[in-house]
């Protein structure tokens, strides 16, 4: 009896990796999915912190894809290892802080390690030549194969016919004529194939699947690094850059003001890690203070927090300040006027 060939597929939750996986499953290969969590992944749940988005489904698309395909999915936490990719990208950044090519190389390398540890035979990605300006180009395809170490065990079913034959094709594990020659940014071939496979409900994230491609998020990350004088970060930093208004009056501190109840509830979990404050005399949002504020800075922060509460028109409001141990004090301040807050403060 011949050995069952097994492949591991990088599942992002989008349509391309779903189709690529299905194309290989159709050839009788046993496929399991792998999904890497960098901390910067765009997830419905992160958006779901905010109340206004609660009507959106809260599903995780990679899990949904795996369940639709009927395959196992292994979700791997690579937050720590990913820091080096983000901080020192060999191939540089894209339009924002997105190190897409280095990221792809890293993920394929991790998939290769998983393949070897679990005795699988090859790796599948949903890459399409010309689909993405940084990581999915004719010139970058061989770079990803070589630098990841996957070499000819990396199969891109959706554009395989535009590329040299891989080991699984040469060995006859899969048939090249049942793979595809998609290229470019157009989505019509993918949508036609989805229709052929009977996939009617699939995710098509317009801006990719990573917060690092987002201009606003990238600016906040750069601001954080500049203020700290180092590119170090942890998961709490990554998460908090996704929520609240970020207002930086000077390099010593930043005020993160919750915009809605959902964000405030999420930020409650950080009250033991950050100085925090909220308006005591009027209804108002929770704010976290990041950095090392002086007493004068705290006064400025309290005025900012008061600005976003219902006492914004009052002559004076009381703001409760809590330290990391939960000790409380009260500041009486005049809410900051909108004309007192320069645009540059808003990160």
């Amino acid at each position: 009896m011949s050995k069952q060939i097994r492949a591991v597929s990088l599942i992002s939750g989008g349509l391309d990796s779903m189709l690529a996986t299905k194309a290989i499953m159709e050839q009788g290969v046993h496929v399991e999915g792998i999904n890497f969590f960098t901390g910067f992944c765009v997830e419905g749940h992160t958006h779901a912190i905010r109340k206004k988005d609660k009507v959106k489904p809260k599903r995780n698309n990679s899990l949904w894809v795996a369940e639709t395909l009927g395959i196992k999915l292994h979700i791997i936490d690579i937050i720590e290892e990913y820091k080096d990719v983000l901080i020192n990208p060999k191939h540089g950044y894209g339009a924002n802080m997105n190190p897409c090519l280095d990221c792809k190389v890293f993920m394929v390398r991790k998939a290769k390690e998983w393949m070897e540890e679990n005795d699988f035979d090859f790796i599948i990605t949903g890459e399409v030549m010309g689909q993405r300006p940084m990581s999915q180009r004719r010139e970058t395809m061989p770079i990803i194969s070589a630098e990841s170490g996957a070499d000819d065990r990396l199969v891109r079913p959706l554009c395989a016919q535009n590329l040299p034959a891989t080991l699984p094709e040469r060995e006859g594990w899969i048939h090249r004529d049942q793979l595809f020659d998609f290229s470019g940014r157009g989505r019509k071939p993918q949508m036609a194939l989805a229709n052929e496979y009977g996939f009617t409900d699939y995710s098509q994230p317009a801006g990719g699947c990573c917060f690092l491609t987002d201009e606003s998020y990238s600016k906040k990350l750069v601001d954080l690094w500049q203020a700290r004088g180092t590119k170090e970060y942890d998961l709490d930093d990554v998460m908090l850059l996704k929520v609240g208004r970020h207002i930086r009056p000077n390099s010593d501190f930043k005020v993160i003001v919750a915009r809605e109840d959902g964000e405030a509830r999420f930020m409650q979990g950080y009250k033991k890690s950050f100085l925090n404050m909220n308006c005591a005399s009027h209804r108002g949002p929770l704010a976290l203070i990041d950095g090392s504020p002086s007493a004068e800075d705290l006064h400025v922060a309290a005025r900012i927090v008061a600005r976003y509460g219902q006492g914004r028109e009052a002559e004076e409001v009381e703001v409760t300040v809590r330290d990391r141990e939960g000790n409380e004090s009260t500041l009486k301040v005049k809410p900051m006027g909108v004309d007192e807050m320069p645009k540059e403060w808003f990160v």
């Binding site: 999904n35 969590f37 992944c41 997830e43 419905g44 749940h45 992160t46 779901a48 912190i49 489904p57 809260k58 599903r59 995780n60 990679s62 899990l63 949904w64 795996a66 369940e67 009927g70 395959i71 196992k72 999915l73 292994h74 979700i75 791997i76 936490d77 998460m239 509830r265 999420f266 979990g269």
Partner: protein, 75 residues
């Protein structure tokens, strides 16, 4: 059969799923794991992850701020 607790509060998806996955790797078939979370998305994701990986969700409980899922470890 043994019972275990996992605190995945304050974590956003997919971290509660990852923590559940990693904990279950340490357990035996038939063991029971109860996971407590604060991200409402786990009510979809942990059952989905359990279904595709052969584990059985015995119970889900939704509170105002906490969501508790009890899983029996499968093969």
């Amino acid at each position: 059969m043994s019972t275990y607790q996992l605190d995945a509060k304050r974590l956003l998806c997919p971290l509660p799923v990852i923590r559940t996955q990693d904990k279950i790797k340490e357990l035996q078939i038939g063991d029971i794991l109860t996971v407590t979370c604060t991200d409402p998305g786990v009510m979809q994701d942990i059952p989905a992850w359990s279904r595709i990986n052969g584990h059985k969700v015995l119970k889900t409980e939704s509170g105002e701020y906490e969501f508790v899922i009890t899983i029996e470890v499968g093969e």
